[in-house]
Amino acid sequence: MSFYAPFCLPFIIGAVVMFATILWKWGSWLYRLPHADKMRILRGLPTTRTLSAAWEVVRESLLHRRIFRVNPLLGYMHMSLAFGWFLLIAVGWIETVAYLGFRFVPLQGHVFFKYFATGLEHKPVFDFLMDLLLLFVLSGVALAWGKRLYSRAMGMRRTTKHVLGDRIALSALWFIFPARLVAESLTCALYGGGGFLTGSIGAWMAGHIDAGVLIYLESAAWWIYSSCLGLFFVALPFSRYMHIFTEIPLIFLRHYGLRSSEKESAYDHFQIEACSRCGICIDPCQLQSVLQINDVQSVYFLRDRRYHSLRLQTADNCLMCGRCAERCPVGIDLNTLRLNSRDTMRNVPDEKRYDYLQGVDRSSGTGKVGYFAGCMTLLTPRILLAMERIFKASGEEVWWADKEGGVCCGRPLMLSGETDSALKMIQYNTELFRKHGITTLVTSCPICLRVFREEYRLDGIEVLHHSEYLLRLMRSGRLNVTHGAERFTYHDPCELGRGSGIYDEPRAVIEAIGELLEPAETREHALCCGSSVANTAISDGQQLQLARSVAAELDATGASTIVTACPLCKKAIARGTQTEVRDLAEIVAEHLQ
């Protein structure tokens, strides 16, 4: 039995191009990985991480569990296409084995088995199974068409605007399975067999169409099917469908501990090309929903970066609130990729920069607990005064790092991509903390907190956000607050919540004082105040628009006071509402017993 017919050619060429390209891409990325990352892979391979990664591949790449969480219909659509196709291939292979036993069958033999197997005795079980799977996939295709018409049904207000290459690949993909259905049905019409789907349609065709025409049509249908496959395969490595294969190594590498950092690395390619441009990141983006900015979201950022057409304007226009990363079904570290893009585009190392910091020390007080107010807290002195009262009430001896003004923590510089310059501040502040011998560092600014925890090397110094610190004081009985009937709502600062994973402590503190009302979108899904230092592209008026929309959601809770735990959020939200906006420390200080 020969497994070759001229119509197989497009498929064969497509498959060869696709596999060659993918292998070349993966190879070069792996080759260019930093040495430390290569070692991580080698060390991780023989461990259970490999198994858990494989399990995640099944869950995410085939079943698309995370998309189900976004919207069940959307999840089913992705699952039917991915898992359905996978099963078609897998069951198809088993079918071949069942028919022919274990012998070499070329790839096209598996794929076009129906065409080549006309002379063999039928196995109705497989006919039924394969038709069922085809129906499964076709239902996904139908949903995909439907999504184009009405995406809201799948929980998406907006979908991605695709580039031409993606559209070609998408069209090819849409036609693969209908073409297969028609081709297989025509073969059934001529030679009999087939399951409930192909068999029935084939029988119907045989009854209505002249046999001569059928032969002609059959040949054409298989050509079309093969061509669609070939076209899709050629387009795949260069289009968004590269994610189908890239997500798999990404999951493994992630399990081996590889991460993106503020400097670009070869690992970033796995993340970038694992993006399916599903567009789930668009809806959560407040720049889109409030400001109608439509071309900067993570999907577009990754696309532009992948095709080397990234503009600084796009890289800069992001609040880095992390709402998109929270929803990304592939789990791409979107903020870090944006950061290292900014680093590439803007970082200019300058040894002499900030030399003027030498010898600056405006700190006061002595104590093992150091308090770092941060630049923004200096513009919200109520927080500073509240902290002063709290420290006094708890009997804590405090070293005030920057009450009279200090040096910035360095996070804003990092966020803008001037990574090397930020190290100057990091170094300066680290030395300052060390010099004064503190063991605990408290800050009321989540922006500072994040960089202290992630970039500073403060071994031996415990870094706490003041929400954590306050709760600790209250739990240990050093701070007693009165509980009243006041109704608060809480705004999660991005850097504190999604950034540092601190959600419960501020809530516990508030609940000790009064009633806490949650806004519609809260915790991991909380909105950004809009004044994020990460965004240098939007205007003051746009910041205000964002603040108003956030404040509206907080006001809708009916709380009399909006509480937050970030000086910048406090200032930003206060611009958008008449309701009082206070820092956690302020309400604690006010309710001290």
């Binding site: 923004m376 513009l379 040096v407 510089l413 240098t536």
Partner: protein, 110 residues
């Protein structure tokens, strides 16, 4: 061979708009038209961390840049820590951090 008499002809201190090349300044203002709305209140400089430690004066530097005086502007702007306090106090709502980065981007070669 120039003769040295023990002094040199002082260079004029005046900002000469005819002589200055305003192309970069125009580009900057095109990208950030709100910079023109600066009313010179100086709140940005007053609040500035770098300005309190050095001679750095954000208001003055961007005004000079607008007049086509680019010399040294990049180095001056490099003193900025980008902490963003100035943006919070600007009564005109100017995106000051954006201005710092824009000027640095445009004047990196001066």
């Amino acid at each position: 061979m120039p003769v040295h008499f023990g002094y040199t002809i002082s260079k004029p201190r005046a900002i000469d708009i005819d002589h200055n090349n305003l192309r970069k300044s125009d580009e900057i203002l095109r990208e950030m038209p709100e910079l023109q709305t600066c009313i010179g209140c100086g709140a940005c400089t007053a609040v500035c961390t770098a300005g309190n430690l050095t001679q750095f004066n954000f208001r003055k530097v961007h005004t000079l840049v607008r007049r086509g005086e680019y010399q040294g502007a990049y180095e001056e702007m490099n003193k900025c820590m980008l902490c963003g306090k100035c943006r919070l106090v600007c009564p005109r709502g100017i995106n000051t951090r954006g201005v710092v980065m824009l000027i640095k981007r445009k004047l990196g070669d001066f």
